[in-house]
């Protein structure tokens, strides 16, 4: 019984993955963008070093830190766009009649996309960070980052799903996405480790999933280890649960307000 259900959703993942493999342009674009960002920041950290490092870390490891956080973030496919389109077009109404959970199916598809993006972007991260710094962190650190990074990306994908579902009420979810993304940048310590932010930012971050999704997994690269692997696993499990509840609540509210336009 469960096996059939899983197989059903696994099919969504497979289709999404093969679609991602065929539409590689967007992925190549992300890879190029990623390389550029790493280049800009390696320059930035060297410039900061000239002025005096504000944190007990050297520019090289900070570039690898960024490589890790950006890898996690960029791997998560921006499925909110597609979901918004489906809702706008009204396609979603027909999916509601199918014997699959729309939300789980979309998530499965998103995870399929993630499965294709993460390795490509991971390789980009590795080679570019190495090219810009001439240094590789201890491999044990990288081995810990990878699985936690995947898990974090999966949670981010689910969060994007939730944002996409807001299209039931908002015509355009893009502005919400952009603000959400910037909050993730700041509160998740994407470009700057959290300890460099003022105290009130750090206090606010605790109430969000962002530090557990970005800063904590990447901190293994820095060697600062914000949390132990066990504790991080627990945190990710907690935030996964919260996300799952939030997304299904949004969807239940949305499905009850569906109206169809036109004749």
């Amino acid at each position: 019984m469960i096996a059939t259900q899983l197989a059903k959703y696994a099919a969504f993942s497979r289709i999404a993955a093969s679609q991602a493999r065929r539409e590689r342009n967007e992925l190549y674009g992300r890879m190029a963008f990623f390389a550029v960002i790493l280049g800009v920041f390696s320059s930035l950290w060297r410039a900061v070093e000239e002025a005096g490092m504000p944190v007990a870390a050297d520019p090289k490891s900070l570039v690898w830190y960024l490589a890790a956080t950006e890898w996690i973030l960029l791997s998560a496919p921006p499925i909110h766009i597609e979901i918004q389109e489906a809702i706008r077009r009204g396609d979603v109404v027909y999916r509601l009649g199918h014997p699959v959970s729309y939300v789980v199916a979309e998530l499965a598809a998103g995870l399929g996309l993630l499965a294709v993006r993460a390795p490509f972007l991971g390789l980009t991260a590795f080679f570019c960070a190495f090219a810009f710094t001439g240094w590789i962190p201890p491999l044990t650190a990288l081995f810990i980052v990878v699985p936690f990074g995947f898990a974090a990306s999966a949670v981010i994908t689910a969060l994007y799903l939730g944002i996409g579902l807001l299209a039931f009420w908002l015509q355009d979810v893009a502005p919400v996405y952009w603000v959400w993304q910037k909050l993730m940048f700041v509160l998740g310590g994407l470009m700057l480790p959290l300890e460099l932010y003022p105290a009130f930012v750090r206090r606010a971050a605790v109430f969000t999933p962002f530090p557990s999704l970005l800063a904590a997994p990447a901190s293994f690269v820095l060697g600062t280890n914000l949390v132990t692997p066990g504790a991080l696993a627990g945190r990710l499990a907690f935030w996964s649960g919260v996300t799952a509840c939030a997304v299904s609540w949004i969807f239940r509210r949305a499905a009850s307000t569906v109206t169809i336009n036109g004749g």
Partner: protein
């Protein structure tokens, strides 16, 4: 002085170099730009015809026949490779802007109405596009709105309109600047029967009233028969037939569709020129070519098997006629 013909084509030709659009990937596309492995496909092949002002012409052909390509060349969207074309005295590819003031277009699959706004706002914007005097434009909007019975539709956001209602507004939008010629590409596609009927009647009336020349492409024979008086049939970019629609059916296929109701469940009618479409439940439907088997012979054969309780005889559906035309590879033949 108005031109003698609204549309004049002479040996109009257009070919495309087709590169098969393979897998996506910019690198493939860039390479394709420099590669020579292309195939030349002839879309329009020495097409010639003329349309008089005020005529309503159906432009018919199967998919890939070259209809849209021809229409685009007439509207100034595509440049022809060879031949001459004049629309309302203008050469479309060279005098696109001047021509634009005189023509209107309705693409069934595309909308020029702004989705979030009521059609009236698009109408006002079009007044700016066509540089119409604001007072005159407002009067024109009111006139057309009443002719097309838009009522409250003009002030309802387009996203709340049904397809039929939207189409009426699209046609109004295309007529606002009083064009002398209207190009319609599948205007009734996706509409229900009553919406189609309304659109057809409005097009016919408006064309009559304002002497607007219509060139309409459609797969729906109803569009052709109810709106147009003349049909131009093309296939593989070549003219197959050009003449009045009534003559199309009469002269091309001497076929009738006969329905017989008898007191036998099925009828066996194997006569030359007779094709039984269905027979059962006391009803037999068949097509008959009257130049091969006269109607009398058919009735005799039926009476030998059962009593005929009722009979209906209709002209062959226009669809069949056209399908027969497509099947022929003959070039243009104007009926006597």
């Amino acid at each position: 002085m108005p031109p003698a013909a609204a549309v004049e084509l002479n040996q109009l030709s257009k070919s495309f170099r087709v590169r098969r659009a393979r897998e996506t990937g910019v690198e493939t596309r860039v390479r394709d730009l420099f590669r020579r492995d292309t195939q030349t496909v002839v879309a329009v092949d020495k097409l010639s015809f003329a349309i008089a002002p005020g005529e309503r012409v159906a432009f018919i052909g199967p998919n890939g026949a070259g209809k849209s390509t021809t229409l685009k060349m007439l509207a100034g969207i595509l440049r022809p490779d060879a031949g001459d074309v004049r629309v309302l005295g203008f050469v479309p590819s060279r005098q696109r802007r001047q021509l634009a003031f005189q023509i209107g277009t309705v693409f069934g699959q595309r909308s020029q109405l702004w989705y979030q706004l009521p059609p009236r706002d698009t109408f006002e914007l079009l007044g700016r596009v066509y540089e119409i005097d604001p007072g005159e434009h407002r009067r024109r909007i009111d006139t057309l709105s009443s002719v097309f019975a838009l009522g409250a539709l003009a002030t309802t956001p387009v996203r709340h309109l049904s397809l039929g209602e939207r189409m009426r507004c699209e046609i109004v939008a295309s007529l606002l600047h009083s064009p002398r010629m209207l190009f319609l590409d599948e205007p009734t596609i996706g509409l229900d029967v009553s919406a189609k009927a309304m659109i057809r009647e409005l097009l016919w009336t408006e064309s009559e009233r304002e002497r607007v020349t219509l060139l309409l492409t459609s797969h729906d024979t109803g569009d052709m028969e109810r709106v147009c008086s003349r049909a131009i049939v093309i296939n593989h970019g070549r003219l197959l037939w050009d003449g009045p629609i009534s003559a199309l059916r009469r002269s091309y296929l001497k076929a009738k569709r006969v329905t017989l109701w008898s007191d036998a469940d099925r009828l066996e009618l194997t006569l030359p020129g007779v094709r039984v479409l269905s027979s059962g439940s006391y009803r037999t439907e068949l097509d008959i070519s009257l130049d091969i088997t006269p109607l009398g012979q058919l009735v005799d054969a039926a009476l030998r098997q059962a009593s005929i309780r009722d009979m209906a005889i209709e002209d062959a559906p226009l669809d069949d006629v056209i399908r027969a035309l497509y099947a022929t590879a003959s070039s243009a033949s104007v009926p006597s």
